[in-house]
């Protein structure tokens, strides 16, 4: 398939090059109205798309034939067309644009508007800005270049509709979905965002306030991101764009998080061992694995090895560091290759586009990802007044797993072992303790079982997860102009995404060997082995199907009567989205020749080698089908008087089957209203500094729906595997009053531009009020029992406010151009009303900051910490009970919980997300060179740095950052704050230190996000086959320039490892 398309493209290219030519040379000059020459204006032939730039002497251009039309454009000026009929020299005068932004289309998904027609708040990220960053994910390219949009890093949220990490203007919900609504062209997009190839995207519009977003109704509360794809146009010469790049990712720095040294850790294990801490592990009948040093200690205790042997073995272990091993043998450099080919053209009645993309990614854990995108877009004008558009977007991607994240290579008790060798002295990949005590598995089967070891560097080859995603997004639409200014628009879109996930485990891998061994029935007298699970591989397959259809009918009205201009739309739409799936397992699987067994007994318990009775895992299952339906009616209108005053409003009603119980709840009007005033068009206006000044104000409400919530007393059904009886489980207590969340927002906006657009931008102030937010309201669980202690109700309110400032300045506009884009955002989102224990108990914020914790009057992400009283003479940490020092850690926790701040045990620190953030993007161009770099900043927040918990260290093998600074002898308490080691371990003692104010750091930082260097070559020579070529180099994740903390912690990666630097080199050509 892929090859055929390339051949097609080559044929098309060949045709294109075979035209007859009769070139002529044309000279011209370009000036502004005062007569001074304009340099660096682009001069382009419309017919051939070749071009040149002007200098102080004007320009010379070769045209292939006459007549032709030249397009002359320059930043800050209106573009002009000049018809060339003969070889006479031309004089072209460019006029400065009033408002540069007027050229930008704002696509709300329902209509395309000009900035001066809209009162709401939006931001458009155009193609040039999107291409400042590279990578496979389109949304990632919004980072650092989009006003009021913040990528939350290191936060956790259990809501399934919270995948992007993006917040627009802070949070709008406490427990509801956090993702903004994603719209592709005209409709909501629920597929995998990775299916959208950034090369196919023309621009992105972000709708920020209620007036802009409320047209999207009940799901728009978090803001809307509208992705507009590239389209073919009428009357366009054939254009071929080819873009390719290579992205290289370095190895992560595993030593970024400081950890206890291996010798210290082994000594620590020895101490605990001597205290009997591990005794129950050695006698545990489940035979868990334990760290190699513990085996040595145990052997010495049992007299199996001498003291000398023990010492030498321990010394050998102390020389190993797992992180070096993982860095050396585990990680590799990642490489992504991207290829994108785009053909478009059009005649008077047809506009078309054909595009193909191919991405190939091999990441640093050896997982691979290959993706093909194909696009066909067509617009026809069969009769006057009617256009029909149709398009298909096809995605096919395959993801193959690589090595698992090394932090997951723990024992079943989640114990991480910091000193493991992955490769033996002879260079072979060795086994590590993972699931069972190695000595147990060596002996248990009496030699009758398969090798039961786990080899980290081998296993991934034999236990592969392969995910294939196929998606088709097809649309057809018709637009018919009924009378001048009124047209009807019908749109239909169908989407289907099939995800097939396979896990292929062969007998060389642990998964299959383990299961075969577990269920091996060894006859003790004869030694004959009966395999319940047949010898061979195991294939587990699952299918997940997602689909939707949308229909929209809409009337558009747009007329100007003298000084009055009215634009309005109204219509209805229907959306049905569904998802289902199935899974199946095949044992004894061999791909070629195909063999497998399905007639295994999945219903009976079998004795296992390790002494349990267990069911065979797997079997076939069907996922329930979920189907959400929405019916919506919408309208909006705006009236402009004399191009100065704009009144606008919108109304939308949504119905859905999500709230089946009460029909009244299904209908919920959402609305907005706005006023705008172009001050600079008033006759009395004469501020010389600002040539453009517009004020607008809006107010409105949009909704937020959690698709997983329901108001009905519902159960999920199934079959009990033991009794075979049909069962129903009541999963959540029903709340018949459950409704949708509402987000009210008021926005005040000032747009301005100085003369000649040297500085332009906007300043906005907004207030958000979240009402009736989903909140788990604590309830008396005696009434329901089980695991839940709360019930979901529309019980909470929140308040947000903020300021957005965007500035664009043309600092230098000569041969060298220098532009700066400055973004500044301030936002606070606090809980206004909440019930239950966390609402008034600020103590819930101790050590928090990574998840939303609603405390009335405090930010949603906030942090508090224990007051710190230093160490006593024995190195014990001291906290406070009211104002006295205390070492009663239990009492300190109780006091914090019961008495709050007044108890004196802890203090409130502040927001755990940036209150102020933004970026500064500078671009320099000279001749064909453009250099741009983006500096991002985040200020006004706090984080808890990882410190030391002896308890966690014993339980997990990590979390030992401060170990070398711990109190060791009297007098140390004057030099250090790190508590002494004490046994028995006390989790509360550790929690006091780890959660205390001395471990709070300021998150503030300034980061160099990316540097982009490109060189463009425009063709002046018709013999060359291309019109323009651009070569670019991009480096991302360059690191921190300044940070407020002194621990060298990257605040975006407090407990994880920072993203390695990413290098991209690429080329864009236009034929």
């Amino acid at each position: 398939m892929y090859n055929k398309i390339i051949i097609l493209f080559i044929c098309l290219l060949a045709c294109h090059c075979l035209k007859a030519q009769k070139p002529v040379s044309i000279h011209g000059i370009i000036s502004d109205s005062s007569g001074s020459a304009i340099e660096n204006a682009s001069v382009k032939s419309i017919s051939t798309q070749t071009g040149t730039f002007s200098n102080t002497n004007g320009f010379n251009i070769i045209l292939r034939k006459l007549p032709d039309t030249l397009l002359i454009s320059h930043i800050g000026y209106k573009s002009e067309y000049a018809v060339v009929k003969n070889t006479q020299p031309l004089h072209i005068v460019l006029t400065p644009v009033d408002d540069q932004l007027e050229d930008v289309d704002i696509n709300t998904g329902y209509q395309k508007l000009k900035p001066n027609e809209i009162n709401g708040s939006y931001v458009v990220i155009d193609n040039r800005m999107l291409n400042q960053q590279t990578g496979l994910n389109i949304l990632d390219r919004l980072n650092g270049v989009t006003s009021s949009l913040l990528f939350n890093v290191g936060k956790h949220n259990p809501n399934p509709q919270s995948n992007t990490g993006i917040t627009i203007r802070g949070l709008s919900t406490i427990n509801g979905p956090l993702d903004p609504l994603i719209v592709v062209d005209n409709f909501i997009y629920d597929g995998d965002i990775n299916n959208i190839n950034p090369n196919d995207v023309e621009s992105i519009t972000v709708l920020k306030d209620a007036a802009a977003a409320s047209i999207w109704g009940a799901r728009a509360g978090n803001g809307v991101i509208v992705i507009t794809t590239k389209k073919g146009k009428f009357n366009q010469q054939l254009q071929v764009d080819f873009n390719t790049d290579v992205i290289m990712t370095g190895k992560p720095n595993l030593f970024y998080n400081k950890q206890i040294s291996v010798p210290d850790y082994i000594n620590y294990e020895q101490f605990l061992f001597n205290q009997g801490y591990y005794d129950d592990v050695f006698t545990d009948y489940e035979h868990p694995p334990f760290a190699p040093a513990l085996q040595v200690f145990e052997d010495k205790r049992n007299g199996l090895i001498s003291a000398e042997d023990s010492a030498s073995q321990i010394n050998a272990l102390k020389k190993i560091d797992s992180r070096s091993q993982y860095t050396k043998y585990y990680y590799r450099k990642g490489v992504i290759q991207q290829y994108a080919l785009n053909l478009r053209g059009g005649s008077r009645n047809i506009g078309w586009l054909v595009a193909g993309d191919f991405d190939k990614d091999l990441n640093n854990l050896r997982a691979s990802f290959n993706k093909i995108n194909l696009r066909f877009e067509n617009t026809y004008r069969p009769v006057k007044n009617m256009t029909i558009s149709a398009g298909v977007y096809y995605t096919n991607s395959t993801n193959k797993s690589g090595l698992p994240d090394y932090t997951t290579l723990t024992t079943p008790d989640m114990q991480y072992i910091p000193y493991l060798n992955l490769v033996g002295p002879d260079g072979t990949n060795v086994a590590v303790p993972r699931y069972y005590d190695p000595r147990f598995i060596d002996t248990v089967g009496g030699g009758k079982l398969m090798n039961w070891n786990y080899y980290p560097l081998e296993d991934y080859k034999h236990n592969r997860y392969v995910t294939n995603t196929e998606e088709i997004l097809a649309h057809i639409g018709m637009d018919y102009k009924i009378i001048n200014g009124l047209d009807i628009n019908l749109l239909y879109q169908y989407q289907k995404q099939n995800v097939k996930s396979s896990n292929i485990a062969d007998t060389a891998g642990y998964y299959a060997r383990n299961l075969i061994n577990q269920f091996s029935q060894i006859d003790p007298s004869t030694g004959v082995v009966d395999y319940i699970i047949p010898m061979g591989g195991i294939l587990s397959q699952s299918y997940d199907n997602l689909g939707s259809y949308n229909f929209r009918g809409q009337l558009n009205f747009d007329r100007t009567f003298g000084k009055h201009r009215i634009t309005a739309i109204g219509g209805m739409e229907v959306r049905d989205e569904w998802e289902d799936g199935s899974s199946a397992s095949y044992y004894g699987y061999n791909a070629d020749p195909l063999t497998y067994t399905t007639n295994l007994d999945f219903n009976d318990y079998f004795p296992t080698v390790t002494g349990d009775y267990e069911l065979l895992p797997g079997g076939n299952s069907l996922s329930p089908k979920t189907e959400n339906r929405f019916v919506s009616f919408f309208a909006n209108a705006s009236y402009t008087y004399n191009r100065k005053y704009i009144v606008s409003g919108s109304v939308r009603r949504d119905g859905s089957n999500i709230f089946g119980a009460n029909t009244n709840d299904k209908w919920k009007p959402l609305w907005s209203a706005g006023l705008g005033w172009d001050l600079s068009k008033e006759s009395f206006y004469h501020l010389p500094l600002f040539s453009y000044l517009k004020l607008s104000a809006t107010y409105g409400v949009s909704g937020n729906v959690d698709l997983t919530k329901t108001a009905q007393p519902v159960g999920s059904s199934g079959t009990n595997s033991l009794t075979g009886l049909k069962i129903i489980g009541i999963d959540q207590l029903n709340n018949p009053d459950l409704s949708w969340e509402r987000s009210y927002q008021a926005n005040f906006r000032l747009d301005f531009a100085t003369a000649k657009n040297i500085v332009s931008g906007s300043i906005e102030y907004y207030r958000k009020n979240g009402k009736g937010l989903y909140a788990p309201t604590p309830f008396d669980y005696t009434t329901f029992g089980g695991t839940g202690t709360t019930i979901t109700a529309n019980a909470a309110d929140m308040k947000g406010k903020g300021i957005d400032i965007t500035l664009h300045s043309n600092n230098i506009s000569r041969a060298l151009t220098w532009t700066t884009d400055f973004l500044f955002d301030f936002n606070t989102s606090t809980t206004a009303k909440y019930y239950g224990s966390s609402a008034t108990s600020v103590s819930a914020l101790i050590g928090n900051g990574t998840s939303i914790m609603p405390v009335v009057g405090k930010p949603l992400y906030a942090i508090a910490a224990y007051r710190w009283g230093g160490l006593d003479a024995q190195g014990n940490p001291q906290g406070y009970l009211h104002d006295t020092l205390s070492e009663d850690y239990n009492a300190i926790q109780q006091n914090a919980y019961n008495n709050g701040i007044a108890g004196g045990s802890f203090k409130y620190i502040g927001s755990a997300t940036p209150v102020t953030f933004g970026s500064i993007l500078n671009s320099f161009s000279y001749k064909g060179f453009t250099l741009s770099f983006n500096i991002m900043y985040k200020f006004g927040y706090y984080l808890l740095r990882p410190s030391l918990s002896y308890y966690a260290l014993a339980a997990s093998g990590i979390a030992g950052t401060d170990y070398d600074k711990r109190w060791q002898q009297p007098g140390d308490e004057k030099k250090t704050n790190v508590p002494s080691f004490a046994y028995p371990l006390s989790a509360q003692r550790d929690q006091l230190y780890a959660g205390s104010e001395i471990n709070i750091i300021k998150g503030d930082y300034i980061r160099l996000q990316f540097v982009n260097l490109s060189y463009s070559l425009l063709n002046n020579n018709s013999k060359r086959p291309f019109h323009s070529v651009q070569i670019y180099v991009n480096v991302a994740n360059l690191g921190i320039i300044w940070r407020a903390n002194k621990y060298h912690i990257d605040p975006d990666y407090v407990n994880t490892i920072p993203q390695p630097k990413i290098y991209t080199i690429g080329i864009k050509t236009n034929f």
Binding site: T626, E627, R629, L725, P778, Y781, G786, T789
Partner: protein, 455 residues
């Protein structure tokens, strides 16, 4: 053309706005329970009605097991306190919430049943739902009473606090605490009501039956020290099922008594199946060791020594004899328990021979073939002591010991519990307030119910 378009649009609008379009269930697995079979399915959901649900904090407080000091020292906040009879509070998912889970489901079934008429066609199904719901509710009330209320004492039952008697699924009805008298009366009357509604034998032992109801009443009266009634119902129960597994060899012990978990789940002794919740886990996991005095009570020829226990490397014993065929502790009603209730009650009533006959019937299946000497010709007191010892030996880790301690101390047994740890020596004296375990503090705060007295 244009008119057709408008008509098309309007038609679509009308069709779609039809509420039927939005009445589509949004998840095919979601079920709005309304039919009899739905209600039965709610009650058949073993994970919410039988498995890992009955209270375990009494068992963690009792004396059939101990923790080695290294293990004790490694326990987290609350667990040490729980193990040593000091005040503790486990928030959220806890013993109390597990115990009330089946109560909610039973109440929901009873509430929804009010909307379904009982007629000739559905009599059996309707009765089974009603009877089962009443049984489940009573069964769990009784378990909660044993843990969270004082031992039943007819003299003070009208004043002693019982538990929360939730009799509705409506969470808007506030929870209040009833007296011990009200609670036990509720259990007894509901269980008696369910007897005629239930079948003699259940389709699966996770379902209630007449036998289960008799067993529940026998248990209830025993814990009230009403031995005559206890005997009556234990006897009725055994009339329906008196099968015992023979530890010398039995179809329900497929791999022999030395297997990791010798007893089949749902074996022939099980009349009604339930398990204690796994919270906290130290009382049944690999951390737990069998009390050495208890272990010393088993004779060498007693097959339970191999069936119930497994020697650890540290020389102490670990329990493996649960009727759940897993680590989870079976807490349901079984025939062996009924034999022992019957035996005890006969002896207490002075019918020593009859009592010993019941005991010998049980023990003959527990000892090596040919090596068992029936217990005979002993005094009433000796017989009672023997039976109580056998009760402890047979029913270890069944969630019954805490109730036994309470009632036996009421009878004057004067059993003092003691734990010696690095951080102190802890004792629990007979009939002290701590035998009614603390109710979770958050529930006390939310409902305003009185907390148990904690010394």
């Amino acid at each position: 053309m244009k008119n057709k378009m408008i008509i098309l649009l309007l038609m679509a609008a009308v069709a779609a706005s039809c509420n039927k379009y939005l009445d589509k269930k949004n998840n095919t697995q979601l079920i709005v329970p309304n039919s009899l079979s739905d209600l039965q399915a709610i009650l058949d959901n073993a994970d919410q009605m039988n498995n890992s649900l009955t209270p375990s904090l009494g068992e963690t407080s009792a004396d059939d097991y101990f923790l080695e000091r290294t293990i004790y020292n490694g326990l987290i906040l609350g667990y040490q306190e729980n193990y040593t009879w000091r005040y503790y509070f486990f928030p959220t998912e806890n013993d109390w919430s597990f115990g009330y889970k089946p109560v909610y489901n039973a109440n929901l079934a009873l509430d929804l049943l009010k909307n379904i008429g009982r007629d000739a066609q559905n009599t059996t199904a309707w009765d089974n739902v009603k009877g089962s719901a009443l049984f489940y509710r009573s069964y769990n009330f009784l378990n909660l009473l044993w843990n969270y209320a004082k031992a039943y004492d007819s003299a003070s039952a009208g004043k002693d606090w019982g538990i929360a008697l939730r009799l509705t699924s409506d969470f808007n009805v506030p929870t209040t605490r009833a007296t011990n008298k009200e609670c036990y009366e509720q259990v007894i009357s509901d269980t008696k009501d369910c007897i005629p509604l239930l079948p003699d034998y259940p389709q699966a032992v996770t379902r209630p039956s007449k036998g289960a109801a008799y067993g529940l009443l026998a248990r209830c009266y025993l814990s009230m020290r009403d031995y005559n009634d206890a005997l009556l119902y234990a006897d009725s129960c055994l009339k329906l099922n008196n099968q015992l597994m023979d530890l010398n060899g039995d179809g329900d012990i497929p791999a022999g008594i030395s297997a990791s978990y010798p007893f089949k789940q749902f074996n022939k002794e099980t009349i009604f199946y339930s398990e204690m919740d796994g919270f906290p886990s130290f009382y049944y996991s690999s951390k737990s060791r069998v009390d050495t005095i208890l272990y010393s009570l088993y004779a060498d020829n007693d097959l339970r020594k191999s069936a119930y226990f497994k020697r650890n490397a540290d020389t102490y014993q670990q329990f493996k004899g649960s009727y759940s065929a897993s680590l989870a502790c079976f807490s349901g009603i079984a025939t062996d328990e009924m034999y022992l209730i019957s035996a005890e009650c006969y002896v207490r009533a002075g019918q020593v021979e009859k009592g010993l006959a019941d005991l010998n019937a049980l023990l003959s299946k527990r000892y090596k073939s040919g090596m068992f000497d029936p217990v005979g010709s002993i005094s009433q007191t000796e017989a009672l002591d023997t039976i109580l010892n056998e009760r402890r030996k047979e029913l270890t880790k069944r969630g019954l010991r805490w109730m036994d301690l309470k009632r036996q101390n009421k009878e004057g047994a004067n059993i003092v519990l003691k734990r010696v740890e690095d951080d102190g020596t802890y004792t629990l004296l007979p009939n002290t307030n701590f035998y009614a375990l603390p109710i979770p503090e958050d529930i006390i705060k939310l409902t305003g119910m009185p907390q148990n007295d904690i010394e």
